[in-house]
């Protein structure tokens, strides 16, 4: 066991895995000498050399496209999109190629690749360094999309992603990189996808979340204990596959459901969670299904006053929790 923050955990996990498995290589913009703009590959090039720590040209379409070729040829590429906001030039290669190659070849070809993408707001990143992208990819059959928010999960799920025989979009919330710390076992372990984690047991309200917001939800839930409001907080961890079993059994217990996410509300992941609750647990509910999401504006503005306005925080979550509990 060692205490680490998120980005250190990701770095160490990748480093160990590249030592363990020759097929693994990292590629992306500035992953080499620079060690990645968030330092996730710091020192890699000295240890593994330029060929396995590949500084690519500034072309995300290329990064995804060559990763597919490498994966088809038996390597295990772990590609970094410098910021999730810059994944869109690669959208065609990811959605039309990586996601569909197993299916379209009837299993003759597979694409075991990982795309790491630092995402999310609250870091003065403005419109193009703050975005949430999970909804775009969770909608695409053939892809898996995960977003661990504890160092323990980050290690186990990153190794799972590398082991996974299919393409995985691995989302890392930038604001958790240094702010979230935790104990990480030193030995290798994996965490299967599609299993949500109950971070806090509660009987009054089920609060489903993931990413940075999950931590805010925990904070809000803690505050409410003093008022005798007992909230169950579920960390989805994986957007696809989605663990609705855990969500539905919790809702069966509490009868109240809220979903909190940072992405804009409309057709964000919370829509699918709410829809599945409404399909499968409608008559166990004794309150409306509440969604807290980002406003319908194109990502958060730069100016401190505007950015603060944009991002849901623990106060707002707390109010909504209270309202729903009292409903």
């Amino acid at each position: 066991m060692t205490e680490k923050n998120m980005v250190q955990t990701i770095r160490d996990t990748l480093f160990e895995e590249m030592k363990r498995d020759e097929r693994v290589l990292v590629l992306g913009e500035d992953v080499g000498a620079r060690g990645g703009v968030f330092r996730a590959t710091m020192g890699f090039v000295d240890e593994f050399g330029q060929d396995r720590v590949l500084d690519t040209p500034l072309d995300e379409c290329l990064i995804a496209g060559i990763s597919i070729g490498m994966a088809i040829d038996g390597l295990r590429p772990v590609a970094e999109m410098q910021f999730a906001d810059f994944i869109f030039p690669a959208f065609n290669q990811i959605v039309q190629e990586a996601a569909r190659i197993r299916y379209r070849s009837n299993g003759d070809f597979t694409v075991p690749m990982v795309i790491r993408a630092p995402y999310g707001g609250g870091v003065h990143g403005a419109l193009y360094h703050s975005q949430s992208i999970e909804a775009f990819f969770a909608h695409v059959p053939g892809l898996k999309v995960v977003a661990p928010v504890t160092p323990y999960d980050a290690k186990g799920m990153l190794l799972q992603a590398i082991d996974d025989p299919d393409p995985v979009i691995f989302l890392e919330h930038k604001k958790t990189y240094r702010s979230i710390k935790g104990e990480v076992p030193d030995e290798r372990y994996t965490i299967p996808f599609g299993r949500a984690e109950i971070r806090r047991e509660g009987s009054d309200v089920t609060c489903v979340s993931y990413g940075l917001m999950m931590h805010y939800c925990l904070e809000a839930a803690e505050r409410l204990t003093s008022e005798g409001v007992d909230v169950e907080v579920i960390d989805l961890r994986s957007m696809y596959p989605l663990d609705m079993e855990t969500v539905l059994s919790s809702v069966g217990k509490t009868g109240k459901a809220m979903i909190v996410y940072e992405d804009n509300k409309f057709l964000g992941l919370g829509a699918e969670v709410a829809a599945q609750i409404a399909e499968n647990a409608l008559f166990e509910l004794d309150g409306p299904i509440v969604r807290i999401g980002g406003p319908h504006v194109p990502a958060m503005p730069y100016s401190p006053t505007l950015e603060h306005w944009f991002l849901p925080d623990a106060d707002r979550i707390e109010q909504e929790m209270r309202k729903l509990a009292e409903f």
């Binding site: 496209g65 990763s67 088809i72 590429p77 190629e97 070849s105 003759d108 059959p141 299919d166 596959p241």
Partner: protein, 336 residues
């Protein structure tokens, strides 16, 4: 007994090579004519023709080592995948969307080639995506120290996509063991080369730090020669090349197209006169490897092979609907 005007010996091609190349060109042409027949009969809703490209495809394809090298073709490449190991039957299984279609088990449209055991990388409809896959595979081969060469084929329209630019750039930077082969038939569906490509395709090579050359794609030996040079250079560590093979497609873009809206019959006839198959026959006669009698025999044999393959494919089973759920993921999990 090589006769005068012998071009093939200096290219290292023996009689067997030439005759096999001729057979493949013919097989491509006859499969194409047969599939159009099925289309007219309403038995094949969608057809992608190869006719006109056989010289470019067989000539360039023949320069690669089957079993070792990697093929990243595009939909036009029927004659190329025949060289790479597809049978006529395989082609028609794909045409009808049958269970045993080696490319996709009937999932993809016809002409979306792929076969792991033949080193033909699965292709999709979105244009030019395969050139980046080819670059990634070439990087992998180099990293592993294998001496395989990767070939990727595309039309001149394919050069417009960013994927092509990225692959050319990456291959040039890392001097990858690959060959970019453009089958320039001057049209992307209806759009003429002059509205598609600023400058000339082969001239773009220099800007990416690699040699670029053009050749007559309707002369199978020219196509072989320039590709062989590029493949040898790539295999010996000399890096990538770009080859532009000038050619023409004789039919409409696909069975959904009508080329009379954008090509004059005169232009088509002009290019029909440069048909790569008769031209190769002339050559084979000039070096006394073929005569009209032998040509007739080979045509009959090949025709029979096509008929057999087509019949077997027609008789083959369709996929079981429930199989449609398979191979989404390794564990074939489905959304709850």
């Amino acid at each position: 007994m090589p006769k005068k005007k012998d071009q093939h010996t200096e290219l290292g091609l023996k009689q067997e090579d030439l005759l096999e190349m001729y057979r493949f060109m013919l097989l491509g042409r006859l499969c194409d004519e047969r599939q159009w027949g099925f289309n007219r009969q309403g038995k094949a809703p969608f057809v992608v023709p190869v006719s006109g490209h056989e010289g470019a495809q067989v000539g360039s394809g023949w320069a690669f080592e089957r079993g070792k090298d990697v093929f990243c073709p595009y939909y036009r490449d029927m004659a190329l995948v025949l060289v790479a190991g597809f049978s006529a039957r395989d082609v028609f299984l794909g045409l009808f969307g049958k269970k045993d279609d080696p490319s996709s088990g009937g999932r993809q449209m016809p002409a979306h080639w792929g076969s792991a055991k033949r080193n033909i990388i699965t292709g999709s409809s979105p244009i030019a995506t395969q050139v980046l896959h080819a670059a990634g595979i070439a990087y992998s081969k180099k990293l592993k120290g294998e001496d395989a060469v990767v070939g990727t084929w595309f039309g001149e329209g394919g050069t417009s996509e960013g994927d092509w630019h990225g692959a050319m750039n990456f291959a040039g930077i890392h001097q990858l063991p690959m060959v970019f082969i453009c089958e320039n038939n001057q049209y992307a569906i209806s759009v003429h080369e002059s509205k598609q490509v600023a400058g000339r395709v082969y001239k773009r090579a220099e800007g990416y730090g690699m040699p670029g050359v053009e050749a007559d794609g309707n002369n199978v030996l020219d196509a072989f020669r320039v590709t062989k040079e590029a493949v040898d250079r790539a295999r010996s560590g000399g890096g990538p090349s770009l080859i532009e093979l000038r050619t023409y497609r004789y039919y409409s873009h696909t069975s959904d197209d009508d080329d009379r809206t954008y090509r004059t019959r005169e232009e088509v006839d002009e290019w029909r006169a440069k048909d790569p198959i008769p031209r190769f026959e002339e050559y084979l006669k000039s070096v006394e490897m073929l005569d009209d009698a032998r040509i007739a025999e080979i045509r009959d044999e090949t025709q029979a092979e096509v008929a057999r393959g087509a019949q077997e494919a027609q008789d083959a089973d369709f996929p079981d609907p429930i199989d449609a759920m398979k191979n989404v993921y390794a564990e074939s999990e489905v959304a709850s």
